[in-house]
Amino acid sequence: MRHSPAPTPSQTVGPFYGYALPFPRGGEVAPDGHADTITLHGYVFDGAGQPVPDALIETWQPAPDGSRTGAPGSLRHDPVTGRVIGRDGVAFTGFGRVPTDADGHWTVRTLPPGGVSYISIAVFARGLLHHLYTRAYLVDKPGDALLGSLDAERRSTLIARSETARTYRFDIRLQGADETVFLEFG
């Protein structure tokens, strides 16, 4: 039997990640001006119903062709100043990262994921000792194993609400009556 090392424990992201983790165009996952661009946005709320202004949202998804390998280039540097300038506006990396604003609001512009109907989300925040996973389903897919395992009320927390043809609203509630379904893998 192979030696299995014990994992390094998680710790909170804290309130001061702001000059470190967010980067320019972090939420602009879709190539510039792409005709299929969708907007996924929402608020993060705590158990008192207050917006969470110091949360960080990361998204991960397949490319429209179903590829799950992603691509480097989310954090490109300016070669002169060394500053991070973000994406080149052409490549699709599959990865998004956005802080919530003072209202607890976040926005990601991306392309529809290929082969699945959801975008995977990780939530970090001050006060959250271990990040949380959830999924924003763009459609309530009847045959989906995860959705099928939940009762209607809880399932609805995973379904993004279509606001316009290409805009989806997905609020994340960390606690309380409408608490978002959070996921555990393995």
């Binding site: 470190a20 599959g94 000792l129 393995g186």
Partner: protein, 267 residues
């Protein structure tokens, strides 16, 4: 101090007492209670009363297990040489001048639960300066900002899973969890593995810090051996002559990998 300095810099605000006056003794008692009630685990519980910000920010419903070998989360974002430059790992070279403080090298390996190196993956680091202040406008701790230190770096792991940073040892700082709350010196780490499920944000501490027993963020890891895994080791072989003191900290990423599913071990 000259009068010029005084006129340019109004008196710094003094910390205000917390409204409810919750003191270290009360927090310690809560931490002791949490410790004896804890179930063994590698990660902290999300509900941890001594860390008061967790109160409204932890889910009350159990997490829903996903056992889908096709789950998107078993793949992960990719980063490469376009995302990281050679200078990003040296936090002491990001400005014109030298930052203040004790220069340190922090190195280690990133491994998965099988002990295999996690290669070519992104490691991000952020921290307070030597005085215990972050270059963040919301950090109003009355300690000096260092114009030559931002406190943020990135690197990719190499073929052996190794990462390395050159930086400054951060200072301890107060935070308003309770009266007289001080964080031990720590570095924040963000890590990616080969799967989104291996994502980790954590903190590295320095050995022998007298603040350990008073810090509810560190104590939230209730298992003693797990807590020790957050503390680096001084490593003289990593010290660079005439330059920096060396610290070793290995990181093990949790979470299933796609390989585990393929091997049928986790179904």
């Amino acid at each position: 101090m000259t009068t010029t300095t005084q006129s340019q810099h109004p008196p710094l605000p003094r910390p205000r007492p917390l409204p409810d006056g919750l003191d270290q003794r009360a927090i310690d008692a809560e931490a002791d209670r949490a410790q004896s009630a804890a179930t063994p685990g590698n990660h902290p519980p999300r509900d941890y009363p001594p860390y008061r910000s967790s109160h409204f920010r932890h889910p009350e419903q159990p997490l829903i297990p996903v056992r889908d070998p096709e789950a998107v989360e078993l793949s992960g974002p990719a980063f490469g040489v376009t995302d990281v430059t050679a200078l990003d790992r040296d936090l002491t070279r990001q400005h014109q001048g030298e930052p203040l403080g004790e220069r340190i090298t922090v190195s280690g390996r990133v491994l998965d639960r099988e002990g295999r190196p996690v290669r070519g993956q992104l490691v991000e680091l952020w921290q307070a300066n030597a005085s215990g202040r972050y270059a963040h406008q919301l950090d109003q701790h009355p300690a000096p900002l260092d114009p030559n230190f931002t406190g943020f770096g990135r690197c990719l792991t190499d073929d052996s899973g190794a990462y390395s940073f050159t930086t400054i040892k951060p200072g301890a700082y107060p935070w308003r969890n309770h009266v007289n709350a001080w964080r031990p010196a720590h570095l924040h780490f963000s890590l990616f593995g080969t799967a989104f499920t291996q994502r980790l944000v954590t903190q590295m501490y320095f050995p022998g810090d007298p603040l350990f027993p008073y810090d509810p963020v560190l104590r939230s890891v209730t298992d003693e051996s797990a807590r020790q895994r957050l503390v680096c080791a001084y490593d003289h072989d990593l010290s660079v002559p005439e330059w920096s003191l060396g610290h070793r900290w290995d990181i093990v990423l949790d979470g299933p990998s796609a390989t585990l599913f393929e091997e049928g071990e986790q179904h």
